[in-house]
Amino acid sequence: MGSWEQLKENPSWYEAGTFDVAVIGAGHAGCEAAFACAHLGLSTVLFTLHLDQLANLPCNPSIGGTAKGQLVREIDALGGVMGEMADLSAIQTRMLNRSKGPAVFSPRAQMDRASYSRKMKARIEKEENISLVQAEIVELFWDEDKNINGVRTRSGACYHVKAAVICSGTYMEARTIRGEVILESGPDGLSRSVGLSKSMADAGIRMQRFKTGTPVRVNRRTVDLSVMEVQPGEPDMPPFSYSNEMKGITPPKEQIPCYSVWTTPETRQVITENMDRSPLYSGVIEGTGPRYCPSIEDKFMRFPDKSRHQIFVEPMGEETEELYLQGFSTSLPEDVQVQMVHSLPGLSNAHIQRAAYAIEYDCIDPTTADLSLESTCLKGLFTAGQINGSSGYEEAAAQGLMAGINAAMKVLGKEPVILDRSQAYIGVLIDDLVTKGTKEPYRMMTSRAEYRIFLRQDNADMRLTEIGHTIGLISDERYSAFEEKRKAIEDEKQRLRSTFLPPSEKLHEILKRCGSTPTQSGISLADLIKRPELHYADLSEIDEGRPELMPSVIFAVEVDIKYEGYLALEEDRIRKFAALETKKLSPDIPYEKIEGLRLEARSKLAERKPMSLGQASRISGVSPADIAVLLVYLEARKREEREERKEKNDG
């Protein structure tokens, strides 16, 4: 199974070509992976089941949001495409969490779904190194040493590849569920992937089954928006993409609003009366659903004291009347869905264009992958997105980018690129998945990031663009623009620290206006900005030497100054974290033979082969005492090696 040998026995199979990398699936993960490989100069074949549904947004018509907005900014800072493309199809933009502080500021944009997909397809088609193919991959080929060396389509086309990235989303062995109606189908009635999951299991990869869901879509013409609360956009938001910001591409001035309503007692009643028909509660659904994105019936069942839930009504695009009901996903039967929707204010006559459904699909146990997202069971095979147990477009794209980069590194014979938990949300995401594993679709949240004050959406470029440039995904032109920005921030901070204002009537007046205490002696501009009630903008009339700066530079300067204390604490914590992280563990350590380790730790470590002591410490079942044993073992081994070398030299 899984070898080129089979070619001889199957006359309908044929050799279709040779590529450096095959990317299987052209959703958000697959597109990033393909672009990363192509931009790094590798010949890439990108397979999709549905050419017209590329980079589809089958659920929310939006990109970004809490923690997800940070991911999009990071993808962009590293040279990925999601942010750039999202800016071009945004119909409404907002900065979430404005009152909670800059580290949790999260940009989000409503997408024109069709436009996003269309523009991504056009861009891929123009890309020199990508060959786009509509085909279903059903089998992987590998050699005797378990190195992947080929893939086969359902129609028998066999491709020679050096590496592959599988981004199968929710398509593998998928089935959709609405009450009693179960269909063997991918999302949105699209055909599913059959067989690839088995081929992966044949390669020794542990598989699991997850579940997720999506709400109904209704026609705007049949909805009374006037009774709903309006959520206008913020046109003066910065774009997602740093390069778009430099080019002056901004969110649309005319924005399409979103709306919100609350469920009614009737909604609750309809759901309660029909719970016996819910596949979740009758046991029809086998997959594990996400706690963080529950269906509406789940919400009512799990939080009985909450009498109502908020539902957001979001437009799906400029050229469609379709509206998406966020927070209203369900797997109840279609007839119940109609009653549920009609129980909502303004939706009593709503016409449902697409019914809600739950979907079950195969994915891998991500602990069988390493931090570069390469499988530990099949070398050269990378996985990204929902196949790794995550949920969300942004989580998928982030993994796709890293899997693409690392597949390319593998082919080029270079070291993998691994971001750690103190560098990026991407690092947190991948480390959580492959180190701790997940038993439900994993969603990014800001609380998962221990160093949140440092991992902000505004400084993603400061954290990652240098890395992106080193990898080769950030152009020299963009890099020098970035360096200019970095210098502008440093210069301005320096200027604010060294500019002292004497007490004056004008200063007094400004302080009074801002509700700040007057100062008796001279004070630096930086010390003024440190005051919570004062902002950079408030001081413009008294700050004569102020240069003209980009809004993003001003923002960074202000955060850096106001959060000086917090950032220092964060740096301290990161230093402690780095101490274990920099102690590398070679994959050939014979964990089974290290007597001091407890049995559970021995088998876990032997299976996972963590890359560093820090990663080892986060594997469940590995105790602090085991880490201490490893530390001692490493030191002893290092000395043994030194002794041996010495003996050799002496001999």
Binding site: K100, T446, A628
Partner: protein, 478 residues
Amino acid sequence: MDKPYCACATPPGVSGIAVIRMAGDGSAAVADKVFRIVRAAGDAKTVAEMAGYTLAYGTFIDPSDETVIDEVMLTRFCAPHSYTGEESVEISCHGGLTVRQEILRVLLENGARMAGPGEFTKRAFMAGKLDLSQAEAVMDVIAADSELALRAAESQLSGSLKEQVENISAVLYLQLSLFEMFLDEIEEEDDNETKIHYAEELENSVYKRLSELTDSYKQGRILSERMKIVICGIPNSGKSSLLNCLSGYDRAIVTDVPGTTRDTLEVITSIRGIPVKLIDTAGIRKTDDVVEAIGVDRANAAIGEADIVLWLVSTDEEEKTITDLIDPIMTLPKETKIALLISKSDTSDEETVKKQEEKVMALICQKGYSRVPDLCGSLSSATGEGLSKIEEFIRNAYDEMGATSSVGLLVTNRRHFEVLSSALEKVGKSIAALRRGDPLEGPALLIRAALEDVGEITGKSVSDTLVDTIFSRFCVGK
């Protein structure tokens, strides 16, 4: 960069000399802040100038007020030729506990940190200063009882401290999860009312308990630092004479004029190997003299903070003045030890002493106190008769304090104290930020960091510091 770390390398208890070791980059720089060379090998003027393996004689000072703490010998080690392979110094000082504690305090205040348990050994091992067989021995220890090693951090703790810290930790986790939930909930916005509520919760639950724990170290510290012994009594009852007797030299001016000692006078000394601070007070009496009145106030304040009160009553003291002192002394906290001493002139006999003792006890009883002072017999400052009985009393009081593990004495370990103080500071900052109405992410960071601090005690956080737990089997400073 990590700070240099220090600890006492000689065992606890009183000895002729003690050695305090400080290692890590910057050791010489810290030493130069607190050590003034009188004479050194190669005429070095500073510790940094000294060559490795050389010695200097000089004074150890507290640079904050330039007071001299001790005359010491300092040995300089240059990397990699030292126990841990790092730059280090060893300070040989006089062997009293007070001196040691003072030197450590001054080092900590001037840029060093306290060494973790077994840190010197661990560093030595890491620097390759221990050989392979020793490395294997360390591994054998771990292999023999991993379960025990797992609890190594916990074993340092008395059961009740662990319980307390775990409780605090649980409350912090709960609070942090509330913050985190809120921060990740898209549609909720900050409101100040909730923040003030959070601040109150933190204040009442965690902050108070953490302060109690850190305060308890202030008590626990007595055991390792020094006891405060206050001598009190009416004017001219012989307090200054007793001070001179106990400290062994004429520190206080002794005259027959009542009220000679107008201010409190402190002497740091050692009684039977116990580090003590003797405090001589102004005689307590009602007075119109402004200066003397201040002295009386200070005396009362000193009595309030005492670990031991030596109450002097002369054989000829009248009922009235004795009665005046009963209230301030008998209302002292019950932990305070009170000794009644009858100071006698050379002429008075045992009979008189006995009678005076009985009189005092009767007066206390009359005022309705069920508590009684310990009777320490009579004292003649001139001959020194009765002194050994007082010393005996002090020694017993010290032993007794060491043996009690009351709630008040939970934290006795400096490292635990430092970790808890650090957590306390962060929780305090978090409360202040919440009250100010700062965005919630700041207070959340502080609570997370505070949790990491207490995690170093409970051994629950997996960080590099936890590796230290196995090395805690080794004596600090060895």
